[in-house]
Structure formats: C-alpha cells, structure tokens
Symmetry: C2
Subunit: 269 residues, 2 copies
C-alpha cells in the first residue's frame, strides 16, 4: 500500500521565476508528480538583499507551502539555498532539497581534476555556499567562483544569443577559465537558458553542471528511498502562486518553463 | 517672519538607491535644506512590478515620510511617478514634485524641433507617463520612448564606461536616434551616472535632459513661491532610511550620492 503522503504535491519555491527552470527539470524527470510552485515576484530579486531579510522572506514562503501539505520542499533559488537552507531544514518535518547541495554533489561526481568553477549572483558567491558544499564531499577540490550580476537581467531581456551577452560572458568567464577548471556549475536558476552560449564560451573541454537537472535527480532518489513517489499515472496537478504578476510575466515564465503556465494565482504573504 | 514649515525637511523617496542622484542634485541646488531620504531597498526594483503593487508600496512610504513631518515630497523614482503620482498628490497636503513632470517640463523647454526621446525602465515606458507629461505642455511634440532594462544593472555593476555598456547603449539608442530627436530625457534616476557615455553615443547635436537636475530646479522654485525655503544657513541635517542594507550598499550609495552616506537607518514598513 502506498504511503498516504505519495499523492501530495512537491513544493518548489524561488524568489521569482528562475525556479521554473527547476520545475521544468522536475516535470521532465518525474512526470506524474503534482507540483506547487511559489515565486516571490513582488520582492524579487533576493540576490542583492541582506541575509536577515532573505531569511525572513524564506520563512514566510515555507509556512505558505507547508499549509499546502507538500511532501517535499525544493529550494529552487541559489540565494535562499546559500543563506537559509539549514534554518529551513530545522523548521520543517519534510525532506528539503536545495539547488546548491544538489549542484555541488553533481560537480564533485563530474570533475576529474578537482578544479570546479561556479558562476552565480553576488550574494550566492559571497555566501561561499558552493565551496562549502563541494568541500563537504571532497576536501581536496578547489572551487573558483565568479559573481555575474548582469546575467539575470540579460536572460530576462531575452538576449540569450546577443553580442552583449557574449561579451559579458567572456568577461565573467575569463578569470575562472584561467584557473584550469574542468567543470563549471551554473549556480543560478536563470543560467540554464544561457547553456548553449556558456558551452561555446567555456569550450568543449569543460563540463557544465546544470543545478536544475541535479535537483530533479536528487528529488527522484529521495522520493524513491522514502517510498513516497506518486504511484498514480494520471495527469498531474500543477499550481503556481506568485506575490505579483508583472508585465510580460506569462511570456517570460513560459520561456523558463518550456510550456504554458496555467493555474496561476496571486497571493499576499 | 519665516513660515514654521521652513525648517522642516524635504522628503525624497525611491524604490532603492537611484533617488540618491536626485538627492545629490537637491543638495547642490539647495545646500541649506534638511533632507530625509527613503529607499525601499528590500523590495527594489519596482520597474518590473504591477501597478497595484507599486501603488501599495508607495502609499506605505508616503505615510512614513509624512510622519517625519516633511514640508515637501519628491518622488525620485520614475516608476512610482509614472503609476502613482496622482494618487499620492490626492493623499497628502504638502506639495509633491515628481521626476517625470519635472523632466517633461524641462524637455519641452529645451527642444527646438519638438522631437523628444525618452529612455527609461519598461514599466515607465509602458505607462506612457512622459508622453502624457510632454503633451500636457506641448500638444505638437512627438515623444519616442525606449525601454532599457539592462542599464540599471550595468550602473549597479559599476560598468559606467565598459564596452558592454557602450554596445548596450548603442543598441537601445538606435531606434530613438533614427527618429531625428534633438532632446533625450534620462528617464531613470540611475542614468545620470551614464551621462558621459550617453552623451558620446547620442552625439553632440542632442541635448540630454537630466531629470534629477530638473527636479532640483522645480523644488527650488516651489519652496520660494510658497515662502517655505529654509532661511537658516547652518549645516543641514541629512537622514537616510532604507528597508534593507544589502552588500555593497555603502559603496554603491556613495557613488550615487557623490559624498559619504551617514545617518543611515534600516526600518520596516
């Protein structure tokens, strides 16, 4: 008999819409799981805010999702993972998967020369969370991080293959490539949309680690271990909650999600 | 005898730190006025949020500043000016100067061929507020607007004279320059920091209108008309309230303000 938890949804949250790339990877890897997404679009971005503020906002989101009776929480935001993942784990009784731990795990598995590059927002880089995550698994690995504050707005502008974006990426990658890395972690949920351009500029000798895919793998393994994967083979239920619905939200959201965005509701925290 | 209002501060507010360029222009134009600045740094940027959310946030800020007993309010944020200036005027008893009306007034005074370009955030452009402001003063003028979502992050990255910024500006200016404008309004408080680069790319035949300077002129005129300019010649009192103090705030803030940032306090709305 399946666990009574099995049919409950997975809760995924982010400061905005970037977490939809993680949601997309989950839908592809686990096509029968119900998902509730929460994006704090009224207060995005978190990457430039202080730790105390991010913790407070994250706590409000977690409380909302726990009221939706989720069976597992995915922190689909690198900034929140970097500064608040441990506090969130201490607060809830369900398993919590975060993008940084998943990405770090995957990077350690992939690297052959123990030299790992990470590109991310300034707050994620300053938190040093990827380096901590990598060193917990492989004390010998070296981690070279680069803050890339312009990549999020470039993705949201839709300049996914634009000379400005290419020049910006070249500028940001120069110092990390000079360190002889063989693995590059895309440490922000917006970056999967730049994967083709990043792959070209990094060169074929460097393996890209997409944290969204890493998260989906880890969620699948966790559900299976705990016996709480959904055994039903029905069309899953997807719901999206946001704190604001700005201009172009539907367009940009669907670009991230790779499918149409239905059952969208605006809520206040 | 001076009005009892005269020694009260001017209240200046913005969604973040961009309004510090307006504050700087006020300090230069009116060196004896006390100023209270409010920046909603926990929820910045507003330029990508919905009208209802922006109105609600602006109302909270105005209530806070009125409690500080300001004698005049300056909306130093183009997005708030575009969507909420009339509601704010209806709500308070003090004069309200907004960047858009000030910039539009200045542009109409400066143009000789009645062809005015405006660069701004997407929300400001979509609000059509500059065009309305210009047409209220000169029904014959043509206004060509261009949304420039990448310029704010470029300024905050400090890439004020960087090839990426130059390429981005060229891309954004191309369509407005093609319209034969003779005047270009910098319709975002971040843009004064790009003035040298914008002047080069626009060319010497185009006059740049800096809304921060326009606001300072209009505030000076209003204080004088109402007889509420501060007659004291003492060192003025400057206070800064923000809803978050993120990484690098001091550095970035001082770059905008052009002086050291003292008496900074974090508050919750």
């Amino acid at each position: 008999m399946p666990s009574p938890l099995a049919s409950r949804p997975i809760g995924v949250f982010d400061s905005g819409i970037g977490g939809l790339t993680v949601t997309r990877a989950l839908m592809e890897r686990l096509p029968f799981e119900n998902i509730v997404y929460f994006g704090d679009t009224a207060r995005v971005p978190y990457g430039v805010k202080s730790t105390a503020t991010i913790e407070q906002f994250a706590q409000q989101i977690v409380d909302f999702l726990m009221q939706q009776e989720v069976k597992l929480l995915v922190i689909a935001c690198n900034t929140i993972s970097a500064v608040a993942a441990n506090k969130i784990r201490a607060r809830v009784s369900v398993p919590v998967i975060d993008v940084i731990e998943a990405g770090a795990r995957n990077a350690v598995a992939v690297t052959q020369n123990d030299a790992i590059g990470v590109i991310a927002t300034p707050t994620t880089v300053n938190s040093n969370a990827y380096a901590r995550g990598v060193h917990a698994l492989n004390a010998d690995a070296r981690v070279y991080s680069q803050a890339c504050p312009l990549l999020v707005p470039l993705v949201e502008e839709g300049w996914l293959d634009h000379p400005v974006t290419r020049l910006t990426v070249q500028e940001y990658l120069k110092p990390v490539l000079a360190e002889g890395i063989d693995t590059l972690v895309l440490g922000c949920t917006h970056y999967p949309l730049l994967k083709p351009l990043l792959a070209q500029e990094a060169g074929s000798s460097i393996k890209l680690v997409d944290s969204a895919v890493s998260v989906a793998e880890q969620v699948a393994a966790t559900l299976s271990e705990l016996g709480i994967a959904n055994p039903q083979r029905a069309e899953p239920d997807y719901r999206y909650y946001v704190t604001d619905i700005p201009l172009r939200f539907q367009t940009v959201g669907e670009r991230f999600l790779g499918r149409s965005l239905k059952h969208l509701e605006m809520v206040q925290l």
